[in-house]
Every structure is written in C-alpha cells, then in structure tokens.
Point group: C2
Chain length 165, copies 2
C-alpha cells in the first residue's frame, strides 16, 4: 500500500518541467540529475508520461522532454495514475465481479469511501499550486542548465539532494 518509485520519479519529473513552464524543452539527463532519477529509468517513465499526453518527447540532438499541458491543468492524481494505473486500494473494489455482496457489503463501502477521498485529494493538488510551495527539487536555476556549451558544466550546482517525493 505504497506508491511505487516510478510514480515518485514521475512526480519529480513533472515538477521540474512545470517549474520551467509549458513548452520549454528540458534535457533528459539534466532532469535525471537534478531530480535524482536513474537516467535509464527516466527514459521509460518519460514514455509513459508521453503516452498519457502530459509531455512531448523530442528526439535527436538537442532533444528532451517538453511539458504539453499547463501546470494548473495537471493533477497529482493524473501523474500517479499514469504510472500505477487507476487507484482502487483493494481487490474487492477493483474487481467487483469477484465479490459476492458487491456494493451492499459494509467493508466494500468503507473502501469505496476511502478510495474516493484519496483520489479527490490527489485531484485537488494541481502542479501550479505545488510549484508555488517549497519543493523537494532544487530547480531555481533550471533554465541555464541546458545552456549552450555546458554539457558537463554543471558542477557548481547546490549540494546533492537525497530521496524526495
């Protein structure tokens, strides 16, 4: 009953892009480094985010990820469910056909309620609100990372980040 790492990484990736704003291209390795995501893993995560229409992937030299939607139109729920599928919390709710009492079951009703609350809370959290607050990723000077000739010229970055949500 815990969020997967892939989903936590996806959230950080979107935060990074949202900080830059919609339509701004970000180098994949820059994202990986700043958001502390294993680079190859980020590639896979990016593909899921692209399929869901959250980002666009530019191939080739000077390629990278671009946020497609406005941060205010992206919810935490959307990012999470893109990565882990629709949230159900328990099997009985996920596959009602396997449950003989269906919605009449008292336990079932509690789980339905819990699920709805959880999804509502995550849906209320839009990325425009999230990036206004202090956030786990230090992206204050994001834009000049992908600057002209600094393929590895980023070692004056702030101290490395630990694990973050």
């Amino acid at each position: 009953m815990r969020l997967t790492r892939a989903a936590e990484y996806a959230i950080r990736c979107i935060i990074y892009l949202a900080k830059q704003g919609r339509g701004v291209l970000a180098n994949k390795n820059d994202i990986a480094e700043r958001a502390e995501i294993p680079p190859h893993f980020l590639a896979k995560i990016g593909q899921d985010l692209a399929k869901a229409g959250l980002i666009e992937i530019r191939q080739g030299a000077k390629g990278g990820f671009v946020l497609v939607k406005e941060p205010r139109d992206i919810t935490l729920l959307e990012v999470v469910e893109t990565m882990i599928g629709e949230i159900y919390l328990n099997d009985c709710v996920a596959r009602p056909s396997g449950c003989n009492a269906l919605s009449a079951c008292g336990v079932h009703q509690v789980w339905i309620r819990a699920r709805n609350q959880l999804r509502d809370t995550l849906r209320q959290a839009t990325f425009d609100k999230l990036i206004k607050k202090k956030i786990c990723i230090p992206v204050s000077d994001v834009k000049n990372l992908t600057g002209l000739n600094n393929t590895r010229g980023r070692d004056n970055s702030p101290e490395p980040v630990k694990n973050l949500p």
Copy 2:
C-alpha cells in the same frame, strides 16, 4: 497501492469472529472454509492477529480462535495495520529523514493529508457497525458449525462463496 490478500483475509476472519461475538471459540478450519481462506495461510494470519491482541489462540483438541476484544472496539484500521504495518502511502512520508524538504514540501503535504484521511476513514469503521450490514461472508448459521460431533458434518452449507473483501 493495493491491500494485500493477507489483510483481506484477516478482515474476513475478524468479521467471522465478530459475528459470533467476543469470547466464542471458532474452529480454524471452519473459519478457513467459510471465509475462503487457505487454511495454512490462516494459521499465519491468526498468529499476527494474536500478537496484536485481537484474538486468542487455543491449542489442542477443540482448539481454535477466540475474539478477545468487543467488535465495537476493533477498527478496520487496526486489522489492516496489524497485517501490513502502519500505512504511509509513500516513501517520503514513511522516512522523512530521506527527504530534504520535509514538511515544507508541497507534495509531501498532500500525501500527509491523504494518509490522514485514509486512516481516519478506516478508523471510523468498527466491526460492530460492519457486521450489522450485509457482509460478504455468509455466517448466519455459524454457531452450530463447531457443534458436537460434526467434524466433517458441514456439507449442508450454503453454496460456496467467491472472492470477498
């Protein structure tokens, strides 16, 4: 982000016992059969429930499980967390030491809120309320299952149950 089967089984087990009432002994194999729990698995689950003080296990001939607490004093949260540990929903909340922004992080705050709501909802669901509703386990004629000489005399039971919460 899904409840484990062990926890779903534990809930069914407690419902079975709660229907009988506190202090009433139930044969383990009867519970396993009626609540559709693999018998050996129920043994392990029972041990966890006993350690948590929810049930008492009687060994030897005519042994079985006995509910220790009143159904009104047992919550769904208690049973669930006995089986899967305290609910955190994400790593960042579970191990704040690994997160550099701590409670100041906007994403963190959303998860804290979601977690509290979920736990509150599960805490409000006490088993006296749950067994008053229609429930997935058919336990109407529970008491005469463990009756005198019916070690295998239970084949007049209602049609078998599918998967339940």
